[in-house]
């Protein structure tokens, strides 16, 4: 008796939860309404099967519970019933599979008028590249990647000069324009996912993967990018933003972003002291750059730009001034003082990994990281 009652409660609660739960998909903001359609179709077919089997079990466990004077039927097989059930199941499977494959065909074949944007992923942040005026991406190679060339642009390729390089985790796209998103990774697997767009795909080092979509909805709050493939201890902090703009807003935003030619010119004018330059190399070599930017963008950890000598609000309510003692402590025992709004993702670096001498170079870098380049968006 108890079994039948509990099974019935479970079936009823499951159905109610499916329709009235406060946890639903985010409101769609791309062309992939067909994906939602296949999800809903599958939901209905599977939901009906669940209810039918569930209620059948409720009935049998109630009706055929043990009685000393009763005797079970003896029925080893019933080929007719078994065939019938097989056929009905097959029909249900085809009803889900066929529309699914049709939509998948759309998903993997971008339309003719599609534009391209590259998403570069690395531990733990995003950067983006547009092909520029000529409509062609410059070639890249992983060997070219260094502190001044995070995309690995090929210096000898003139097609790359006008490529627009977007740092700082925020991408703008124009509404109603189909985009083929080309995914690259510098290090490990990542996955570029904006839940509102429905589409996602892994970025795999050594190859280029893609998906396509058309953003269809402008809203004030940018859409949040979440990394959907485990990529190390900072995985959960690997967020970004996609702002969907009108065509005009998009073009004016794109105009503010530097081309590869601009980036090269800016690097040549760099007036850093040799000690700070050494610090910058250590910053790149020890992996500081994975979490701490020099351009003001922040996702995993605080950016080092304009950080020196400032007073920071800590998560425990106190404050701290960024001086040498604080900086050293934050490297040796990072968990002690967490800046408000950040997560304790950093591991401790002992003296064997980062020496006192190297810390001095990093301090020089920190002191000289003061001049903000044009703009580096930080979230919304």
């Amino acid at each position: 008796m108890a079994v039948a009652i509990f099974l019935l409660i479970i079936v009823i609660v499951s159905v109610l939860l499916s329709f009235f739960s406060p946890w639903q998909f985010t409101e769609i903001a791309s062309n992939w309404g067909y994906i939602d359609f296949t999800v809903i179709l599958t939901f209905w077919i599977c939901g009906i099967v669940f209810v039918v089997i569930g209620l059948f079990m409720v009935y049998t466990t109630w009706k055929f519970r043990y009685r000393a004077d009763a005797r079970a039927d003896y029925e080893p097989e019933n080929p007719k019933l078994e065939w019938w059930l097989t056929i009905v199941t097959t029909i249900g499977v085809v009803a889900m599979l066929a529309p699914g494959l049709i939509v998948w065909n759309d998903f993997v074949n971008p339309p003719d008028d599609v534009q391209e944007v590259e998403v570069l992923s690395k531990q733990w942040g995003w950067a983006f590249r547009f092909p520029g005026e000529d409509g062609k991406f410059g070639t890249v190679h992983v060997d070219n990647i260094d502190a001044d060339n995070s995309f690995g642009m090929n210096m000898a390729d003139p097609n790359g000069d006008d490529d627009v390089l977007v740092q700082g985790n925020t991408l703008h796209l124009p509404v109603d324009q189909a985009y083929k998103v080309l995914l690259r990774s510098n290090d490990v697997l990542h996955d570029f996912w904006v839940p509102e767009f429905r589409a996602k795909m892994d970025a795999v080092p050594g190859m280029i993967t893609y998906f396509w979509f058309t953003p269809t909805r402008i809203q004030d709050q940018p859409y949040e990018v979440v990394c959907a493939e485990l990529c190390g201890r900072g995985h959960y902090t690997m967020r970004g933003w996609v702002k969907v703009d009108t065509q005009e807003d998009f073009r004016s935003w794109l105009g503010t972003q530097p081309t590869w030619a601009d980036v090269q010119a800016a690097t040549a004018l760099d007036a850093m002291s040799p000690e700070a330059k050494r610090g910058r190399e250590i910053w790149a070599a020890e992996g500081c750059n994975a979490c701490h930017s020099l351009d003001g963008s922040a996702v995993v950890g605080p950016s080092w730009l304009n950080l020196w000598n400032t007073t920071r609000q800590l998560a425990d309510g106190t404050t701290a001034t960024v001086d040498e003692a604080y900086f050293v402590e934050s490297i040796r025992e990072p968990a002690l003082k967490i800046v408000e709004g950040f997560s304790p993702a950093m591991i401790a670096y002992d003296e064997e990994t980062v020496t006192e001498d190297e810390i001095q170079a990093l301090v020089a870098l920190l002191k000289e990281s003061v001049d903000a380049p044009a703009d580096a968006p930080v979230g919304p």
Binding site: V3, C46, W104, M201, L230, C231, R233
Partner: protein, 580 residues
């Protein structure tokens, strides 16, 4: 139908153990080895349980426990997953149930290679110890690996991942050693099933437990080698800098690495070529065992035995051509999606047939709601949910928005976590009387059942609605706000439920220990079941299982409630009436 020749093991002398060491530690008795496997798997399972508490604490109450850092969190996620899939589920269902049931249900004296069988357990024990050794390494990159149980390179062997020092190496070494243990055990199960069945035990008279265990073993023997070579190659990539799976990269934490030309996707294909059959290595024994539990306690023959057998075989075969459905958004050629979605949804048909036949077995049955039966019924409902959500994830385009979210976590926990564990519990309650001669305490059993069944459902069913990325240490970081307040509340309630369900498992352990001495005497056949393990001359069965001669089988294992018979069960070794 009866075979004329003398069964293979009839005249084989047994090496009776003389000391405590040879009887309980280095024993060649399949029943002792089964218990050894079982105890070890349960012990390591308790570790996994505690790890799940660590995870859930962080998810439900982020920051509440200071020592749960991202490293600890990811290490717990990884170790929990690997322990549950390999060292608990595989080891228990095949190592414990397989060892105990294969010779007894087939009427054999022991496994065909008892010595290899003994070695198998000790190698398994070594693999567990190597795995746990990961915790012994100190330092910022010490401890076990936090790469996730899928161990995807390049991440798994780079310093941006916890445990990159020794944790990943102990993990890979442990897996390789486990596979050696499994191969020794597996060859035994297959050979015993094919060669050591007693007189009259035709293949189509074998209980479904044996079909499930046998087919799962075939899958394991074919699938584990893919994991074995993956582990070897990744170890080489890590230790001596080969590039099997490692492409040229520029890693923030591993400057100076000189990899080139390897393929992370190759690893994924090899991993899932093992990993998908692995799902069925766990599921098929559970399918088999639950079929027997339902039949015995419903006092009715299993419905559609022959179709059940062919469904097991078909599922086993198909399980080798569906693996890339784990990789729909991994960046492989998009046209793979068409093929693997089709094969994956085809596998739903034989699986559905099994579900229908379990429920149809209940139709016009006379159901005894014993504790094993409760677990069996709970399995069917849990498996229905987990199986149906598999149709979402198996259909390539439907998977796109759902992959890497909590929908996946909910799906695989229900279908291959909770469901097989419910069967393991059911099986333990069912066979404990044969193993020890005593019944488990019924009241504690029922409390354990209801908390476990309702609790796990309350944990995993609502998770389907959490369309948020999985494997996140924290959700609301900085400006981000992907977690709404209602999701927070849900996460908290799931965590609290997980504490309760976890504590209930200690009740079960208590029951196992106390009933061993104080349980009610069970007698030879407390459930009035038909299969041969209930027909041994002694309970618990002695070394060698049978007396002077092996039993002779005259019928299938499902003669329950046969019309015109006095009793509602007829054991397999009872001769047929002359005219029948």
């Amino acid at each position: 139908m009866a075979q004329a020749e003398i069964p293979y093991q009839e005249a084989i002398p047994l090496h009776d153990p003389h000391s405590w060491i040879t009887k309980y530690w280095f024993s060649q008795d399949h029943k002792v080895i089964a218990v050894q496997y079982g105890i070890t798997a349960v012990a390591v399972g308790l570790v996994a349980l505690v790890l799940s508490w660590i995870m859930r604490t962080q998810i439900g109450f982020p920051g509440a426990v200071e020592w749960i850092t991202p490293d600890i969190y990811y290490q717990s996620v990884t170790m929990h997953g690997m322990i549950m899939v390999i060292y608990l589920l595989t080891a228990f269902l095949l190592g414990s149930f397989g060892n105990y049931l294969v010779p007894l249900m087939l009427g054999a004296r022991d496994m065909v290679f008892p010595f290899v069988n003994m070695i198998s357990y000790h190698v398994y024990l070594a693999s567990v110890l190597i795995l746990m050794a990961g915790y012994l390494f100190p330092g910022t990159l010490g401890g076990p690996t936090g790469a996730g149980w899928t161990l995807y390179p390049p991440q798994a062997i780079l310093s941006g991942t916890p445990g990159a020092d020794w944790g990943i190496l102990t993990m890979l070494a442990s897996l390789a050693v486990f596979i050696v243990a499994f191969t020794m055990g597996g060859l035994n199960y297959i050979t015993t099933i094919l060669q050591a069945r007693t007189r009259g035990m035709t293949m189509m008279r074998m209980p479904l437990s044996i079909w499930g265990i046998g087919m799962a073993t075939v899958l394991g023997l074919l699938a584990f080698p893919a994991l074995f070579v993956s582990a070897i190659m990744m170890t080489l990539d890590n230790l001596i800098g080969t590039s099997f799976f490692m492409p040229a990269i520029n890693s923030a934490f591993d400057a100076g690495e000189d990899y080139q030309g390897g393929s992370p996707l190759l690893f994924q294909h090899l991993f899932w070529f093992f990993g998908h059959p692995e799902v069925y290595i766990v599921a098929l024994p559970a399918f088999g065992v639950v079929s027997d539990l339902i039949s015995v306690h419903a006092r009715k023959n299993i419905f559609g035995y022959r179709l059940m057998v062919w469904a097991i075989v078909a599922i086993g075969g198909l399980s080798f051509i569906v693996w890339a459905h784990h990789m729909y958004v991994a960046g492989m050629h998009p046209y793979f999606g068409f093929f693997f979605a089709t094969t994956t949804l085809i596998i739903a048909v034989p699986t559905a047939i099994k579900v229908y036949n379990w429920t149809l077995t209940l139709w016009r049955a006379n159901i005894r709601f014993t504790v094993p039966m409760l677990f069996a019924i709970a399995f069917v409902l849990t498996f229905v949910v987990g199986g149906l959500t598999g149709l979402f994830l198996g259909n390539v385009i439907v998977d796109v928005p759902l992959s890497d979210t909590y929908f996946v976590v909910a799906h695989f926990h229900m279908v291959m976590g909770v469901a097989p564990i419910l069967v393991i519990f059911g099986g333990i309650y069912h066979w404990y009387p044969k193993i020890t001669g005593r019944m488990l305490n019924d009241t504690i059993g029922r409390i354990h059942f209801w908390i476990t069944f309702i609790g796990t459902y309350a944990i995993y069913f609502p998770m389907h609605f959490l369309a948020i990325p999985r494997r996140y240490y924290e959700y609301n970081v900085g400006e981000s706000a992907i977690l709404t307040q209602s999701m927070d509340i849900l996460n908290q309630s799931i965590t609290i439920t997980a504490y309760i369900v976890g504590i209930a498992q200690f009740l079960f352990i208590y029951n196992l220990i106390v009933s061993y001495r104080r349980g009610r005497e069970a007698g030879d056949n407390p459930w009035e079941a038909n299969s041969l393990e209930w027909r041994t001359p002694q309970t618990p069965p002695v070394h060698g299982n049978w007396g002077e001669s092996l039993p002779t089988v005259h019928r299938w294992a499902y003669d329950y409630s046969v019309p015109g018979e006095e009793k509602d069960f007829i054991p397999q070794d009872v001769p047929r009436k002359a005219q029948a």
